[in-house]
Every structure is written in structure tokens, then in C-alpha cells.
Amino acid sequence: MINENPTLGRRGLQLDVATVVVDVFVGALKVFLLFFAVWSAVAVIVLQAQGIGLAGESWPGIITGGLVQGAMYGLIALGYSMVYGILGFINFAHGEVFMAGIMTGVFVSAFLVESGMWLNAFPLALLILLMSCVLTSALVAMIIERVAYRRLRGAPRLIPLITSIGVSFFIQYAVLGLFGGQFRRFPDLPPALRQRYRVLGLDIGGAQLLVICVAIVAMVVLWWFVTRSRSGRAIRAVAEDKEIAALMGIDVDRTIVMTFVVGGAMAGVAGTMWALIFRSVIPFTGFLPGIKAFTAAVLGGIGNLPGAMLGGMTLGMVEAVGPTMLTSLRWPIPDLVAYLLGAVSIVAVLWGIRTIRTATVAGATRSITLIVLGTLMAILSFTVLPGYNVIIPGASQLKDMIAFLVLIGVLMIRPVGLLGERLSVEERG
């Protein structure tokens, strides 16, 4: 990133001002994002411990909501992650694959209600619903690959990405034209799923419990498939290196189709979950969860399957807890801590000034970052932070914003994600 070669002239180090300013800005932004994340997390915990935060009983609800949402993101993220790992582009249309599954689910469930199966044999009806969602999603993913992406292998990197945006819009508006834009609702769930259960000390809704179980089963099946089955091994081989895999006798085209099918199937499972939890769908249902699931995939480390699931869970939790944090963001610990922080910042500034006469650009940039950041932090610590207590109205509207901030933060601070990315040799570049 930064030129490590010292370019010492007669007057010392020659710095490119713009580059240094950019590096300092980015460095400061990273630290501020991290600081903000830590602060809000500490604030929530401390306030909770002091008993001034949210009422104790609302937490299990938030956490289970986050878990369910996170499992959904995780399952969708698997599709993004697998495709990115093998072909190296963001398949924007994956959110629409997810939506297509739900849309089919609406008609299937209406049919099941009509035939009486929904009421009389709900487990069977649920299985049929799941199968239809999974099949549609997998089929849609397969068709997309065949029609749009296959011809773009080896095209410049941005071309498949732009194509996938086109596919995404095509599916959204085709569905809008075919089925109309109104909310289509799923039938009411049977009483067993509307009850609440106590599991591991959490009070959890029946549907949510079911959905978490389904997600776990889907993950286990996927794990078995990818690590044990022949096709799964082929997928991993192609993800590692397409050319070598082809030389080993693996049909690369078929394996890529298989990847799309598996990713689509997982999106289908997530679609069933959506059907049980949110119980309505419009043609644009898939877009935002799609982008967030991509965020989850990056968060966990793109190309990394456990990472996708972990990223999904993390994002779901952040989204569930985030707005709560924002509404009650204050400086919960003694003001002394803020002053201590200020003192540390001043030491950082002094250290930066001391080390600025270094021989490398990277070193000089680091020193300047320390000076700028330390000054800012010192000012903040002595003025704003002690006793900070600002309530943001309507913080729940900012849920999506938090998800995008997480995306930006992850890509700035740790672009390889929590568990590290796994890309094919062609895409590592």
C-alpha cells in the first residue's frame, strides 16, 4: 500500500502531501469507527449492569430476533461467498434468487391452505413449502448462471458485476410485472408455532425456534455436502484453482453450476425462514437482505463458509442491538476514564512528534496520524465525552445505516474478514 522505499532528498523525506493526507484520514476514520463500536458496546453493558438501560425482559427478544435475522443473512451469504470464492464477482442477483423462493412459497402455501394440508398436516405442508422454495431458488440461480454469467468467464472483473446488477433489476421488475407490487401474505401459522417456548433461559417464539433449527440443519447438511461428497470436493477444488481442477478431470462448468445451485438452495432455505417470520413478500423483498448478506459474507471472510455463517450472525446481532445502542448512547463510566483517555491521547501526540523524523514514508505517515488523531481525541476527551448523553430520535430507522456502516468499517479495517478470505488463485491477484 504505502511505498516503503525511503526517498530521502537533501531536505529529508519527500512526502506526497495528498497521499499522506488520505492515509491520515483513513487511519483516523478506522480508529474512530473502532472507538465508536467499543464505546457503544461498553455503554450498553455498563448501563445494563447499572439497571438503567432497557428493561431486562426486552433483551431476550432482541437477541433472538438478532439470531433469527442473522441465521437468515448467513444462509444467503453462503451463496455470495461461494460464487465470489470461485468466480470472483459479487452476484448482485442473489438477493432476487432469495426473493423468487419466497414468491413461490406464497403461491404454494395458498394452495396448501386450500387443500387443507396447512391446517391438518402442517409438518408435511412445511416440508412441501421448503422444498418448493429451495427448488425455485436453485432453479433461478442455475438459469441466471447459464444465461448471463457463463459467457462472461474471463471478462474484465467489473463486467459480470454490472451484468448481475442488470439481472437483479430484470428479476425484480419482471416479478413486479407478473405478480404485481402488492404485499402478498402468507397464511397464519398453526398455534404450535405461535406459542412461546423457554429454551436455554431464552423466551423464544415457536416460529423462531423452528427457523433456527432449520438453519442449523441446513448448515450441517451443507457442511457435509461440501466436505464429504464428491461434488463438494469438486467445488472446493475449483474454488482453489480452476485450471488444475480441470486437469484433474473435474468438469469445471458443471461444478460452477453446482455451486450456483447449492447457493440458491441455501437462499431458498432462508426464503422459507422469511416466510415463517415476516410472512409477506413484495418484488423488492430481496434487494436489501441481499446486500446485507453480502456484507455478512465480507464480514466473515469472503469465500469462507463458516465465515459466512458467523458474519451473518454478527451482522444480525449488530442490527438488532445497534439501534438500542444509539438511543441510549452516553458516557456510562466515570468521567475520570475520559480524562485518562485524553492523557493517553496527549502522550500519543508527543510520541508522534518525537518519531516524525523517520526515514520511511510509512513511519512518517504513522507519526502524522498519531499527532492528528491524538489531538482530536484529546479535545474530545476533555470536552464532549464526559457526561455525554445524547438521544437520537427514531434510531430504529437507522438500522440499515448501521449495517452499511459495518460494511464500510469491515472493508476499511479488515477487508479479509473475521475468519480470513479464501479465493481461487485466479482471483487473489
Binding site: 459479487i90 458485476l161 454490472i162 407478473l178 405478480f179 427514531g394 452499511f404 460494511l407 477487508p415
Partner: protein, 668 residues
């Protein structure tokens, strides 16, 4: 990679029908037909008549499908040095089969619609549709008509291969004439009525606004005659222009420019409201497209959150001009606000550009998309409502009286002069810096570019004078437009567009532009050649942001009211489609793209000439995007260099075929 099966290209084997290909084509055509009908396009267009009693636009919407697929099924890859098979009867037969299959599928859809109750799911498959597509007869005669009609149309499509160029041109002229006169009915009607020629309007158009048969035939005859008459002449003019030296070309270019400006000032007066409105939307999207073109086309940074800068411009203009802005009401005039708009754009460009600059291409795309959404969500939220009005937006933008009762625009020529001065100063400074660097032998001169010292000093001195005079007497001349009159909006956007075109054109050939293209083609090599990646990328972001913010300010004034709702992702995507369809990196391409897409189909919230497309245009944008990426990623009117970049492999193959070399590995 280079497996070109030469055997299929020669000999009589290709004359035989490739059954699989034909059947597949037929099935795809059938699916396309079914989609067109099932999304409701057929019935929506059926209300519009092309030629009054005979032909409605609905039939046109389904007729092009078999023609296109009938034509495409027998397109063969043309390779230099190989003679393809002669087109003949097999093309017609292949086309007919394709059309018959497609027609049969549509018939099947109609029968299914009639037999089963699927209206709950497919909202557009209505009894009216069944009635219309069975042509007044029973379901089965209807299907028969569909099959036969499809076969005939697709056979015609296939037969197009056998026609010579002249026949094809005449057919195209006929089709274009009919389409132009029937789809421009509103515009032509407006113009004729404002010229007091209502009887002529009544003679041309039936009460349903379809063409009457008599004028249709007459116009076709005139068009074909004109086509034949001008055939050779336009070519000769073109040749003469090419044969001129640079001086002569510049002279005629100047003449063309002056004529264009004169037309731009005069024509809006006779265009009706509708056309002016459409054209000012086109202008807005040219402006936005040129800005995105700098970011995506020149520098190769896929910015999916471009709407963020559009929003920044619109909201800045709204806040500083509107007396109803919630918090901060300086109540500036529109042109006084422009410097602030540009300043905010620079800040936003730097702020969004800096964190993303070191990310790789696709991550950059998704992070900019995130920024776009963040800005929209923030503007929409309760949190910032005290500043920006939340979901209610800001009303009464850029009024021309203190209270804000009258909307309109006051053009203060002092500020215009000052802005022109700033541009002249920047251009002059860049030239001076470049000349100095060349003189000190720090850089190589740009090939073919000579900066005359006289012009440079004129730019610098004139720029400073203009800024001083403009700011000293901001209102020495004013032009007040009362009410938001589309004709005047069109004139204003024309000025903005002219500035944007000039800036894009000069930037492209400048040192910065060359640096951008080098970065686009290979970032690492560009860096090792001594190009500063960081500053150049940031500059691209900032330039793009400034053009978008100008567009945003214009958009805010044109509507008089803005809401966060106007700044959704779809805006970014549509601007991207405009750039891609025209050709990334090509100024002409962006203009063509905006005229074709925004003018005919319409923008995300704006109406185009094809008003019936309103519901379907976003679907069409999706299809166009996919098609362009698969078949012509370089766009309709590309820069030569960009096209070469994208077709490197094919050109390598062509060269390989031509050289007749058989050694492996040379093509990759």
C-alpha cells in the same frame, strides 16, 4: 481457449438446418413473447394506435420478437478471411420454424389462461387479453393465427439476410417513419397547434391519436424518396469533412457549434411543453452521465452510490435557497447558491472518495453503494429532520421573491461570469503548470498538444478579471424566469450540459485524463510509471461529484420540491446504464445513451416519449444492461481504445487466424 472449430465455417455442412439451435431459439422467443404478454405490456400498448384502425402498438410489441429471433437464428459468426455460407432459403425456413414455435407457446399461454384460474398469481393474464389475442374467433383459431403469424414474421426476419443493403435500408426507413410519426404524435400535435396548424394535425391523426392511413402512406413515400435522394450526398459531405485538414475541421466544428447554440436558444420556443420537459430530463441525465463517465469511464472506478452526490447537490441547493428550509435559511438566489453546491460536492467527493480509494474494484462498488444508501437513510430519518425536513423534504426551492411565493429562476450574469472565470483560471493554471514541467524536462510533452503562451496568459488574466468583475457586480445583468417553464429549464440545462461536455472533453485529453485511463487499464503499471494513484482517483471522484451536484441543483429547482425518496439506488443504476449503453469513456456515447434511454424510455421518475413504457422501463433497463454486457460491453458508440481493451482476446484470435499460424499458445 483458442478452440475455433474451423470445420463449421466452410463447406455445405452449415446449409443444413441446425435443428437444436432452431428449436432452442424458438423456445427462447416463445418465452420472451410470453413474458411480454404476461407483464402486461401487450395490453398497455394496445391502447395506443399506430395506424388508426389497423395496427396498435400492442401488436408491435409482440411482433418484433419473432422478427428478431427469426433474424438472429441464422446469424453466423463473421470471421475475416473466411467466407460464410450464402444466405438462402434455409434462413427463411429456420425463421419460420422459430416463429411457429414461439407463436405456439403464446397460444398455449392463452389457452392455459382461459382454462385455469391463474389470475390470482399472474395479475395481467386477464379475459380481455384472451379475447384480444384470439382475434375475435375461438381460442383455437386464435392460436392458429398466432402460429401462422409468428411463422410469417419470423420467416421475414430470416429473409432479411437475403435482402441487399439497399432494400434493408428502405425497409428501415419505412419502419422508422411510421414509428416516428405515430410515437411523436403528442409532440407533433403540440408544435402544429402552437403554429396554428390544427387542421393539418387533424388531417394526419385520427381522434385516437393514431396515424391515418392516407398520411402514413404519403410520409413513407416522402421518406423513401428523401432517403434515395440523399443517399450519396450525405456520404460525400462526410468524405469532404474527413478530407479537410485540422484547421478546416475546427472551423466547421465551430460553425456547427454556433448553429447548435442558436438552435438551442430558438427551438425550445416552438417545442411543446411535453417535448421540452423530456428534453430537459435528457439534459439532466447527460450531465449526470458525463459526471459518472469521468469516474467509471475514464478512471474505471465503479461508483454505485453516485446518487449520493446528486442528493448532496439537490439538498445543498434546497437548503440555501428555500425560505422553507427547516434550520438554515440564507435564501440565496439560484446562481448564488451554485458555488456552495459545488463546494459541498467537493467535500462529499473527498469524504466518500478517501476511504474507498484503496479498495479493489468490486468492494469499491459495494461500499459506494453503501454510502449512497447511508445518505438517503440519513436524510429520511427523524434524526436529521430538524436539518433537512425528513420524509417531508424541502419545498419552495429557489423562489425569485423574498417571501417565496413565486417560483422561478433568476439568472445573475455576474455569478455566471465569476464561474466562467474560475474555470478559465483552472484551465490556465493547468496549462501553465504543464508548460513549466515540460520546460524543466520533468515530464514528456503530451503528443500533439501545444499550449500557446498567449492563450494561457489570456486565460489567467481574463479569468481573474471575470471573477473580480462578476463578484463586484453580481447583478449587473439578470434574466428572471417566472414560473418553472420547461422551455427555459431546457435552455438552462443546455448551458450546464455544454459546460460539462467542454470540461469532459478537455479533461479526457489532458494529462489527468491520460493518467485516469492508465489507471483504468492497469493500476499497478500506472503507478510504476510514476502516476499518483491517490490524487488522480480522488480528482476523478471530485470531478464526478461536481457534475452530479450541478445536476442535483438543477433537479431541485426544476421540481421546486425534493424528498429523500428521489435519491434511491435505482437512480445510480440508471445513470450507469446510460453511461454503459453509450459507451464507457465516450462523451458522444453518453449523449446518445441519454437521448435514447431517457428520451424514449424515460428516467426513473421521469416520463419519456414512449409514455406506455412507464411501468416497464425498469424491466427494459435490466434487459438492456444484460444484453449490452453480454454482447457489446464497449457500448453503442465507444471510444476506440476502450473497445480495443475489451476485445483484446478476439482481436488476438483474428490476428492468429489471419497469420495462419498453427502454433499453440500464441493467442492467449
Amino acid at each position: 481457449m483458442s478452440a475455433i472449430s474451423v470445420s463449421t465455417l466452410d463447406g455445405g455442412a452449415t446449409h443444413a438446418l441446425e435443428a437444436r439451435k432452431v428449436i432452442r431459439s424458438g423456445l427462447i422467443a416463445g418465452a420472451a413473447l410470453a413474458l411480454v404478454v404476461a407483464v402486461g405490456m401487450f395490453l398497455a400498448f394496445d391502447r395506443r394506435k399506430i395506424i388508426d384502425p389497423f395496427l396498435s402498438a400492442g401488436y408491435l410489441v409482440i411482433m418484433w420478437v419473432p422478427i428478431l429471433f427469426g433474424y438472429r437464428v441464422s446469424v453466423r459468426p463473421a470471421l475475416e478471411g473466411f467466407e460464410g455460407p450464402k444466405p438462402g432459403r434455409s434462413n427463411v425456413v429456420a425463421g419460420a420454424i422459430v416463429g411457429a414455435i414461439a407463436g405456439a407457446m403464446l397460444g398455449l399461454l392463452i389457452i392455459i389462461t382461459d382454462t385455469f384460474n391463474i389470475r390470482d398469481a399472474f395479475i395481467h393474464l386477464s379475459p380481455t387479453l384472451v379475447e384480444t389475442l384470439s382475434f375475435g374467433g375461438s381460442l383455437y383459431t386464435g392460436t392458429l393465427i398466432l402460429i401462422v403469424g409468428g411463422a410469417v414474421l419470423a420467416a421475414f426476419g430470416g429473409a432479411l439476410h437475403t435482402f441487399n443493403t439497399r432494400t434493408k435500408e428502405i425497409l428501415a426507413t419505412l419502419a422508422l417513419t411510421i414509428l416516428a410519426f405515430s410515437f411523436l404524435e403528442l409532440v407533433i400535435g403540440d408544435i402544429l397547434r402552437s403554429a396554428g396548424l390544427r387542421p393539418i394535425d387533424n388531417w394526419i391523426y385520427a381522434p385516437s391519436r393514431g396515424l391515418k392511413p392516407m398520411p402514413a402512406v404519403l410520409f413513407c413515400a416522402i421518406a423513401v424518396a428523401a432517403r434515395i435522394f440523399f443517399q450519396g450526398r450525405s456520404l460525400r459531405v462526410n468524405e469532404r469533412y474527413r478530407a479537410m485538414d485540422t484547421k478546416g475541421q475546427q472551423k466547421w466544428g465551430l460553425v456547427a457549434g454556433v448553429v447548435a447554440i442558436a438552435l438551442g436558444a430558438f427551438l425550445p420556443a416552438i417545442f411543446g411543453t411535453f417535448l421540452n420537459d423530456v428534453l430537459s430530463n435528457v439534459g439532466l441525465f447527460i450531465l449526470l452521465g458525463l459526471g459518472l463517465n469521468i469516474v467509471v469511464g475514464y478512471a474505471g472506478l465503479l461508483d454505485l452510490g453516485y446518487v449520493a452526490f446528486f442528493a448532496v447537490g439537490a439538498y445543498t441547493a434546497a437548503v440555501v435557497t428555500s425560505p422553507r428550509s427547516p434550520q438554515f435559511t440564507p435564501e440565496m438566489a439560484f446562481f448564488e447558491a451554485l458555488p456552495w453546491v459545488l463546494l459541498m460536492a467537493v467535500i462529499a467527493g473527498l469524504f466518500i472518495g478517501t476511504p474507498v480509494i484503496r479498495m479493489r474494484g468490486d468492494y469499491l462498488a459495494i461500499v459506494t453503494l453503501g454510502f449512497g444508501e447511508i445518505i438517503r437513510i440519513a436524510l429520511n430519518s427523524e434524526w436529521l429532520t430538524p436539518l433537512f425536513g425528513g420524509a417531508q423534504g424541502i419545498v419552495r426551492i429557489a423562489p425569485i421573491d423574498p417571501g417565496g411565493a413565486v417560483s422561478g429562476i433568476r439568472v445573475d450574469f455576474g455569478y455566471v461570469l465569476a464561474v466562467a472565470g474560475v474555470i478559465a483560471l483552472i484551465v490556465g493554471y493547468m496549462r501553465w503548470r504543464d508548460t513549466r514541467a515540460v520546460a524543466r524536462e520533468q515530464v514528456e510533452p503530451i503528443p500533439g498538444v501545444v499550449y500557446e503562451a498567449r492563450t494561457t496568459s489570456l486565460l489567467l488574466v481574463g479569468g481573474m478579471l471575470a471573477i473580480g468583475l462578476g463578484l463586484a457586480f453580481p447583478t449587473f445583468a439578470t434574466w428572471t424566469i417566472i414560473g418553472i417553464n420547461p422551455a427555459n429549464m431546457f435552455r438552462i440545462v443546455l448551458v450546464f450540459v455544454a459546460v460539462a461536455i467542454f470540461v469532459s472533453w478537455r479533461l479526457r485529453d489532458s494529462r489527468v485524463g491520460r493518467a485516469w485511463m492508465a489507471i483504468r487499464e492497469d493500476e499497478q503499471i500506472a503507478q510504476s510509471m510514476g502516476i499518483n494513484i491517490v490524487t488522480n482517483k480522488l480528482l476523478a471522484f471530485v470531478m464526478g461529484a461536481m457534475m452530479a451536484s450541478l445536476g442535483g441543483a438543477f433537479f431541485a429547482v426544476k421540481l421546486g420540491t425534493i424528498f429523500p425518496h428521489s435519491f434511491e439506488i435505482i437512480q445510480s443504476i440508471i445513470i450507469l446504464v446510460v453511461v454503459i449503453v453509450g459507451g464507457m469513456g465516450s462523451i458522444k456515447g453518453v449523449i446518445i445513451g441519454a437521448v435514447v434511454l431517457i428520451g424514449i424510455l424515460g428516467g426513473p421518475t421521469q416520463v419519456g416519449l414512449l409514455r406506455e413504457m412507464a411501468e416497464f422501463k425498469l424491466l427494459a433497463y435490466g434487459v438492456i444492461l444484460i444484453w449490452m454486457m453480454l454482447n457489446r460491453p464497449e457500448g453503442l458508440w465507444p471510444e476506440t481504445r476502450r473497445a480495443r481493451e475489451l476485445h483484446q482476446e478476439e482481436m488476438g484470435q483474428d490476428a492468429w487466424l489471419k497469420s495462419g499460424s498453427t502454433t499453440e499458445g500464441e493467442t492467449s
